[in-house]
């Protein structure tokens, strides 16, 4: 019997597995590991016990994401999520001919996103620069390899083997589902921090920061995506990235309710509430990735600006 007989149900299976991996990664994994469900007292939803179904060890991700990224959101030089150490995502990052490849690197990061997230902690760029020693990575490296082995064994050996003669098909199906999840997660996450109008900050600006300024920085440093319930669910409610950054420990499904008040507050005080459709935000991010591959057109107009809204400057 030729393989083609299996193709139609195969496609359905890949779609189902992709959806399940996306939900596990975004609505369950990301949010549980933020401690959002610790209050339930259920060990399987506890942030210290849960590990997600991708190659990045949860333990390491909690440090780089929950602590570093969520505390130092959008502070250049501190928040390593800005460009993931690979891309130029802000015009205050100094241009270098290497960044001519920005769109290519972004495309590759999207395809291999879970691997990018797993390698994130190793700070490879700092090792290249010589500011970080190889030895510092030994332990992290071991953790990553152990997780990578488990994930690869399951997705690319054991499950394909269980399906016997369909080994190659199952292998390809699992790879496809991981790819779909990578592409989706990358896009949702990049729409959360890199569309036009999102602000970045310097370390000096945030020295001895007040709690109030911290909230202000979280507001200006994130962006939302508008859409229906399905979009919110499939993005783990990170379509409400602003609310997530203000209150990272509140169960994510509550963000749509919070958003109403947050938005009112922003309107009242004239603070930009960066939101738009998925299409608009995606286009804006893509434009930024391409534009920042080239040197800045001209120096920033106001040197003392607290926030760089680079797009306007460049568009001018």
């Amino acid at each position: 019997m030729p393989c083609s007989t299996f193709r139609r149900p195969g496609r359905l299976a890949v779609a189902a597995l992709s959806v399940s991996k996306i939900l596990e990664n975004m609505e369950i994994g990301h949010n549980v590991m933020h401690g959002q469900y610790d209050w339930m007292g259920d060990p399987k939803l506890n942030s210290r016990i849960y590990d997600w179904d991708n190659v990045c060890p949860g333990e390491q991700w909690k440090y780089s994401h929950n602590y570093i990224h969520h505390t130092f959101t959008n502070i250049l030089g501190k928040d390593r999520d800005i460009g993931y150490g690979i891309l130029r995502m802000d015009e205050d990052q100094k241009w270098h001919p290497y960044y001519l490849g920005n769109p290519v690197y972004a495309f590759l990061l999207m395809i291999f996103f879970e691997w990018g997230v797993a390698m994130h902690d190793l700070e490879v760029e700092n090792i290249v620069k010589g500011t970080r020693k190889m030895e510092e990575n030994a332990q992290l490296h071991r953790g990553i390899m152990a997780k990578v082995k488990r994930q690869a064994l399951k997705d690319y050996l054991l499950f394909p083997a269980l399906t016997g003669p369909l080994f190659p098909l199952t292998f390809a199906g699992n790879a496809a589902a991981n790819l779909v999840r990578n592409v989706w997660a990358f896009n949702i996450i990049f729409c959360g921090h890199f569309p036009a109008g999102v602000a970045t900050f310097t370390e000096e600006e945030c020295e001895n920061e007040s709690r109030g300024h911290w909230y202000y920085r979280q507001l200006l440093g994130s962006a939302n995506i508008t859409g229906g319930k399905l979009l919110h669910l499939m993005s783990g409610n990170l379509s409400h990235q602003i609310e997530h950054h203000l209150f990272p420990d509140i169960p994510a499904r509550r963000y749509p309710e919070l958003a109403v008040e947050v938005k009112q507050m922003c309107e009242k005080y004239g603070i930009e509430y960066n939101t738009g459709t998925l299409g608009k935000q995606l286009f804006s991010v893509a434009k930024k990735i391409v534009r920042l591959s080239l040197p800045n057109g001209k120096p920033k107009t106001s040197p003392d600006a607290t926030a760089s809204t680079a797009d306007e400057t460049a568009a001018a």
Partner: protein, 366 residues
């Protein structure tokens, strides 16, 4: 080990179900299937003190654990996790096992008093139904007998209990009787129990039978205002200080027993229930970091700051309550979340020490 348990515990299956584990999938098919976790189904509920007036209702729940249950020794306790309807929250509390020592997979019973403040005990006694699933830990605790049919000694034993402190002691007596302890053993047990009233006495029929039977177990029941006195114990057991003794009950009873036996008497083993500590004020009392063995006066600062002031170096991240790097278990006392003002007195609660300040005395596993 059966083929199923071998299969469920296999590395291959663990690899297939990574990273969530075999149990996450098994429970979807049948809650009684488990590879490593322990769960139990309530198979019988019996009210122990239907006539009680003065004290809260007591019920004995018979539990059928999953095959992962490793059994218990008499006198041990188990942590019971209950998903209380309407809260989406799982509460975990410790209860002594009241049945005789069990083997792996065997049924056990818990005899529980419905405390007024105790959400878990109230639920288990009044609302749990036959068929209800509970989460269990393996049995734990050192309040156990070294005496058994297999390892008999000629020692005279003393058991002292008060209120629902009778449950682990009852497990011990039941174990000895089940395993062949009788009048010919020529070993005496003096069992002294204090209850609020005759109507509140649980296990009354069984205790009457034990008292009557030819087994060298003397049962002495005391009701109402009668409290433990050294004088009375000396009358029953003249050499009680040199007699192996197990005592379980409320803190007040245990204090009296301890006084009678003298400080650090190795013959006395105790287990007692602590009344829940309720907030006593803002910055009073003492803060203990139990793992480090450090205690200091509560300054009112956050637990993280107080630990650091003592020279401890607990793990932390954001120091503002968002990253969960600093979560530790508060074993006792009340803490206030400095961001929300919310106070909480639950025992064995996980708290973010960077945003939790002790209210009164407080212990943290740190």
């Amino acid at each position: 080990m059966t083929l199923t348990t071998k299969l469920l515990g296999s590395k291959t299956l663990a690899a297939l179900t990574a990273p969530h584990g075999v149990d996450r999938y098994l429970e979807m098919f049948n809650p009684m299937w488990a590879a490593t976790e322990v769960r139990a189904r309530v198979v019988d509920i019996r009210r122990e003190n239907p006539e009680a007036t003065g004290s809260a209702p007591v019920a004995t729940l018979t539990l059928q654990p999953t095959s992962t249950w490793r059994g218990h020794r008499a006198g041990q306790y188990v942590q019971v996790g209950v998903d209380i309807p309407g809260t989406a929250r799982r509460f975990t509390r410790c209860f002594s096992i009241s049945s005789a020592a069990s083997l792996p997979g065997e049924r056990i019973t818990l005899t529980i008093r419905a405390n007024d403040e105790g959400q878990v005990s109230k639920f288990l006694v009044s609302e749990a139904k036959v068929g209800q699933m509970l989460h269990l830990s393996q049995a734990d605790g050192d309040f156990t007998l070294h005496e058994s049919a297999a390892t008999p000694t000629n020692n005279h034993l003393v058991m002292i209990s008060g209120g629902s402190g009778i449950t682990p002691v009852m497990a011990q007596i039941r174990t000895l009787l089940r395993d062949g302890y009788d009048g010919r053993a020529n070993r005496k047990i003096t069992f002294l129990h204090f209850a609020r009233s005759e109507a509140d006495q649980i296990f009354a029929d069984e205790l009457a039978q034990i008292a009557e039977a030819d087994n060298h177990i003397d049962v002495h029941l005391r009701y109402g205002d009668q409290t433990f006195s050294e004088f009375e114990l000396r009358r029953l057991v003249p050499d009680f200080r040199n007699t192996d003794t197990w005592a379980c009950g409320p803190g007040g009873l245990i204090d009296l027993v301890r006084d009678a036996y003298g400080e650090e008497n190795p013959r006395l083993r105790v287990e007692f229930f602590k009344p829940p500590t309720i907030a006593a004020g803002n910055a009073e009392g003492e803060v203990s970091f139990t793992r480090a063995g450090e205690t200091a006066e509560n300054t009112g600062a956050t637990l993280l700051e107080q630990a650091e002031a003592l020279g401890l170096k607990p793990e932390f991240g954001c120091r503002m309550g968002i990253c969960f790097s600093c979560v530790k278990t508060k074993t006792d006392g009340t803490v206030r979340n400095v961001l929300t003002g919310e106070e909480s007195s639950l025992p064995d609660e996980e708290v973010r020490i960077c945003v939790s300040a002790p209210v009164g005395s407080c212990s943290v596993d740190l």
